[in-house]
Symmetry: C2
Subunit: 353 residues, 2 copies
DNA sequence: CGAACGACTGAAAACGTTTACAGCCCGTGT
DNA sequence: ACACGGGCTGTAAACGTTTTCAGTCGTTCG
C-alpha cells in the first residue's frame, strides 16, 4: 500500500500542513500563529485548536534549516563528571533558559583530538555559538575548527587575546590563600602544585607571594590533580618541615592530609592546609577544608552572556572572575608562632608584632 | 548589492553545491562520497580535494530533515551537578560514541513541569530516542509528552511495566548493608530514611531485613537526602541507643556522623554507619564511609543500549542493576557484642593481631 | 462616490540534504 | 551487429519550515 503523500513518513508526525488542512487555513497562517505574527482571532483560535487536537510539535530541524540558526549553544567541556565543569554547564543553562535557547553539551574526555571532533559535531548541528571550557586548542587550530562560529573561551589553556573569554583570577585566589596563611603566622609555607593545565598560574602566584613576603622556606612540591598525587607529596612536605601548605586543588589537598596523617602529623595542629576549588563536599571532611572557591556556575553564566552578546557591540569581552577564600577548619596558627590577627576577607597585610 | 544566489547566506558556509561546482561534479556525487556510496576513484579524489579546499562541513539539520533521524539521543536528567546523574550521562555517551551518535543532555532541575518542557525540546530536535533519568512523569503523561519516540526509563519514580527500563536493585543493596551490619554483631540497627523519591524501596527492604532477623529494636528515623537532615536525625538515633545505622544515602550519612559526633558519639567506635550511593569522595572522609555503590556509569551504558536496541527485537528490556557494598572504615563490630563472622560479600576476613 | 489604505491571507520560493530514477557509456555474450 | 547488462553519473523531488510578495476585502478619507 503506497503511503498517502499528504502525510509525513516519520512515524506519521503531524506537520504544519496537517494543521493547516484540519483548520481550513494555510501553512503560512499556522506559522504566524506559532511565531507570534499577525493573525485574526478567529484564525488563531481555529489553528490553536487544530494544534491541540493533532498534538502538533514544531520540527526544529526544518526550522533551523530555513532560519539558519538553531537556538542551540554548543558547550564542549573536558568532563561531565567533574563538579566544577558541571556547574559551569549549569550556569550556561541558567542564562540560555531565559532566552528560550538551549545548551548542547558534549564532553571531550580531555583528549585534544576528541575536542576537535566535538566542535565538528556541534558545528554540524548549526549551533549559534560555541563555549569551549578548558580547551587545549591553540589559536590557529581553533580558527580552523570553529570557522566562523562565535567562540567563547572559558579557562583556556592558552589564552587567546582576540576572543571573548572568561577566566578565573587564579593569581588572586592564590594570593588570598597565601595571605591567610601568612597572617596566621606561618613562615614555612609550601606549595603543592597541580597539573600544568591550570596549575601554572597558581604556582607562579605562590612563588611571587613567597618572594614578596621574604620567606626563606617556600618549597614547591610537585603534585598532579589527584588524591594519590597529594598523598605521595606528604613525604616531601614533611621533610621540609613546612607548617602550612597551599595546594593547587582540593583533591590533592585531601590526599595530602591523608598522607600527612599517615606520618603522624595532624591537620591543622601540626600543618595547616588550604585547598583550591571548593568542591562542595570538602566542608564535610574533618577538619573541614579551608579552600578557595571557584564560582563555576557564575562563570558559566558569564560565558553564556558573552556568547549571546552582539559580537559587534563594544562590550568588554574579557571577564576575569575573582575566587573567594573560604576559611574553615584545616588552617590555624602554627604552634610555634601564634596568630596575631584574624584574616579579613581580602587580606590587607596584618600587623606583625 | 544583491547576494549571489550561488552561495548560501549563513556566513557563506560552503554547501554541497559549492563542492560539486568546484570539483566539476554533482551534489549527488558529493553526497555519495560523504556517505560511502559508489563513486569512481577519480571522482572521489576530486571531490575530497574540493571538500578540503573549501573546508566544507555537512549540515546535519538538512540531513536530519530528509532522513527523518538526527543521530541524537535525548537525555533528560534532574540535575547535571549531582555526580550520580553525571555519571549516568557519561555512561550513555560511552556507548553512543561507538555508534557515531551523540547525546543531547538537558537537565530539568527536578521540576516536573520543566521535565515536560525538556522532553518537548528534545522531541523538537528530532532525537531518535529518549532516556529519562529519574522521571516523575506517570504512564499517561509520558505517553502524551513523548508521543511515538522510543523511551528508556532509568530509576523512574513510578515504574512503567511496558517500557524498557533500568533500575538499581535497591532492595539488594539495602540487604547487603544490613547483612554486613548484622554479621558484625549489631542488633540495634536503625534506618535513616531518605526522600520518598528513591528512599521507599530501601526503607521497605530495611524493614523486611529487620523483621527477618528478628530485631527487637529497628527504628526508622526520617531524614531527607541532605546533610542537614542527617544531622538533625542524630538526636533520635542516639535516643534509640542504636549501635548501627543503615542510611538511605551518603549525604545524610555524612550529616548523621557529624551530628553523632557533636553528641560525643564516635564513629565507628560507638555507632557504625553505612551510607548509600558511594559518592566518590566519601572514601576521603574520616573514617572513610562504608557504603553501597551505585554503578551510575554502567547504568547509563545499559540505558543507551536499550535505547539503541531494535524495539521489535525480543530482547529483555528490563535491566536490574545490582549495587555493591563497599566496606570501609565507618563500620565495625559493636563494643558490646564482638563480631561472630565476617560478611561474605566483599570482606575477606583480615587477620586480627 | 471613488480611491487609497489597512489588516489579513495564501501561494510559492527558498534552506541543504538524501535518494529514486533515468540516462549514459562501454564491454560482453550471442 | 545487436541487445543487454553493469558501473557511474546527474536531475529532480522530497523533507517541514519561514518569509516574501501579491493579493482580497472591508473601511475610511477626500
Amino acid at each position: 500500500m503506497p503511503r498517502r503523500k499528504t502525510t509525513s513518513r516519520m512515524s506519521d508526525r503531524p506537520t504544519m500542513r496537517d494543521v493547516a488542512r484540519r483548520s481550513g487555513t494555510s501553512v503560512a497562517a499556522v506559522s504566524r500563529v506559532l511565531n507570534g505574527g499577525v493573525v485574526s482571532d478567529a484564525y488563531r483560535d481555529r489553528i490553536e485548536a487544530a494544534i491541540r487536537d493533532l498534538g502538533y510539535r514544531r520540527n526544529d530541524m526544518a526550522r533551523g534549516l530555513v532560519t539558519g540558526r538553531s537556538g542551540l549553544i554548543g558547550v564542549a567541556l573536558p568532563d561531565l563528571v567533574g563538579p566544577l565543569y558541571a556547574q559551569m554547564a549549569r550556569g550556561v543553562e541558567d542564562v540560555l533558559e531565559t532566552r528560550g535557547m538551549h545548551a548542547m553539551v558534549v564532553s571531550d574526555q580531555r583528549d585534544p583530538n576528541a575536542e576537535r571532533d566535538a566542535i565538528e559535531l556541534l558545528r554540524g548541528r548549526q549551533v549559534d555559538a560555541l563555549i569551549l571550557i578548558g580547551t587545549r586548542l591553540g589559536d590557529a587550530e581553533l580558527r580552523d575548527a570553529a570557522g566562523d562560529v562565535p567562540v567563547v573561551l572559558v579557562q583556556a589553556d592558552r589564552p587567546d587575546g582576540e576572543r571573548p573569554q572568561v577566566r578565573l583570577d587564579d593569581a588572586a585566589g592564590m594570593r588570598a590563600a597565601f595571605a591567610h596563611l601568612h597572617a596566621l603566622g606561618h613562615r614555612r609555607i609550601a606549595h603543592l602544585s597541580g597539573a600544568r593545565r591550570d596549575g601554572a598560574e597558581r604556582r607562579a602566584a605562590f612563588e611571587a607571594c613567597a618572594a614578596e613576603a621574604g620567606l626563606e622556606v617556600a618549597p614547591v612540591v610537585p603534585g598532579d590533580s589527584t588524591e594519590a598525587g597529594g598523598e605521595r607529596a606528604a613525604e616531601e612536605v614533611a621533610r621540609h618541615l613546612a607548617t602550612a601548605v597551599a595546594c593547587a586543588n582540593d583533591r590533592s589537598a585531601v590526599g595530602l592530609i591523608h598522607g600527612l596523617r599517615a606520618r603522624g602529623l595532624r591537620v591543622p595542629d601540626d600543618v595547616s592546609v588550604v585547598g583550591y576549588d571548593d568542591l562542595d563536599w570538602t566542608r564535610y571532611l574533618s577538619p573541614p577544608l579551608t579552600t578557595v572557591r571557584q564560582p563555576g556556575r557564575w562563570m558559566g553564566r558569564e560565558a553564556a552572556r558573552l556568547a549571546l552578546a552582539d559580537p559587534d557591540a563594544s562590550e568588554r569581552s574579557h571577564v576575569r572572575v575573582a575566587p573567594e577564600l573560604i576559611v574553615r577548619g584545616s588552617t590555624r596558627a602554627p604552634a610555634s608562632a601564634p596568630a596575631t590577627a584574624s584574616t579579613p576577607p581580602s587580606t590587607p597585610p596584618g600587623p606583625i608584632p
